[in-house]
């Protein structure tokens, strides 16, 4: 993988980690070590959406490099 792709990965990881960090900090501020279902929901939804988007790239209608 070339360096631009790797940088894209790092950038995306950083953005997602920042969001998670805020969620975890909020939970810790309330003295919790577990996330609530409401806090889990966007994490799982984002994950499934990202995977679905990537899957769609490999369908017959997806982009071809």
């Amino acid at each position: 993988m070339n360096i631009l792709a790797a940088l894209g990965y790092l950038s995306s990881a950083l953005a997602n980690a920042s969001q998670l960090s805020a969620v975890i900090a909020a939970a810790q501020a309330q003295g919790r070590t577990k996330l609530t279902p409401e806090e889990w929901q966007p994490i799982l939804a984002n994950r499934d959406a990202a995977i679905a988007t990537l899957d769609a790239d490999f369908t017959t209608t997806g982009p071809k490099p």
């Binding site: 998670l20 994490i43 988007t53």
Partner: protein, 220 residues
């Protein structure tokens, strides 16, 4: 106060490092969380670096005192400037000063401190768990999201080939059931099972990270 610090500074710094190491060993994560709450995310690293550096500096100064003792002189009061090979004798007309720490005492202390400092360093570098299982699972899910988003972006902008993108997609599809199983196990009270699945996912993601590392700017 300054004289007291010169005499006891190494003991204070060493004791703090030792205390950190002991607490971190007995109760992993506590001291890291405490330092993080005081100084932010970089707190543990900053605290350990400052304590370790100051202890090292004081030990280094002591080495010069020790060399002077071995070569037949007397130990200089702490903080006095020394040059290599100096033999210093004290002017008897001067008023008495508090005794400086003897060299071997500090060397022994440093030898005792080394493994404790090592423990603290290992803890800070992540050789112990600072996150709850739930937070670890959330983090792994977020890493999967980031990998999928970045791969999609790289593929659609023609930075990687279809086979490379599909390889990443395959790995992510292996990780997701493990993550879901881990979360289900955790909710069912099976912490050990959840931890096992999480470790598997982390192995997959670590392999993916290696794959994503640039290799001279070439496209696989």
């Amino acid at each position: 106060m300054i004289i007291w610090w010169k005499q006891h500074g190494t003991k204070v710094l060493g004791s703090l490092l030792g205390l950190f190491g002991l607490i971190e060993t007995l109760s992993p994560g506590d001291i890291t969380s405490f330092l993080t709450s005081l100084f932010g995310d970089r707190g543990p690293g900053i605290a350990v670096s400052v304590l370790g550096w100051l202890t090292f500096i004081r030990g280094f100064i002591n080495q010069r005192n020790l060399r002077a003792l071995v070569s037949g002189g007397t130990a200089a009061p702490s903080g006095e400037a020394w040059k290599t090979g100096d033999v210093v004798t004290r002017d008897p007309a001067l008023p008495p000063t508090p005794p400086a720490q003897k060299g071997f005492t500090r060397l022994t202390m440093l030898a005792l401190l080394a493994p404790l400092a090592f423990l603290v360093g290992c803890a800070w570098l992540g050789l112990q768990s600072v996150k709850s299982l739930d937070e670890g699972l959330a983090e792994a899910n977020v890493q999967v999201t980031a990998a999928a988003q970045a791969t999609h972006q790289a593929y659609t902008t023609h930075q990687i080939t279809e086979s490379a993108a599909q390889s990443v997609d395959t790995i992510l599809h292996q990780a997701i059931p493990l993550l879901d199983a881990a979360r289900a196990a955790e909710q069912a009270g099976d912490t050990a099972g959840a931890q096992r699945n999480l470790v598997l996912v982390q192995s997959l993601l670590a392999g993916l990270q290696t794959y994503l590392t640039p290799k001279g700017g070439t496209t696989p």
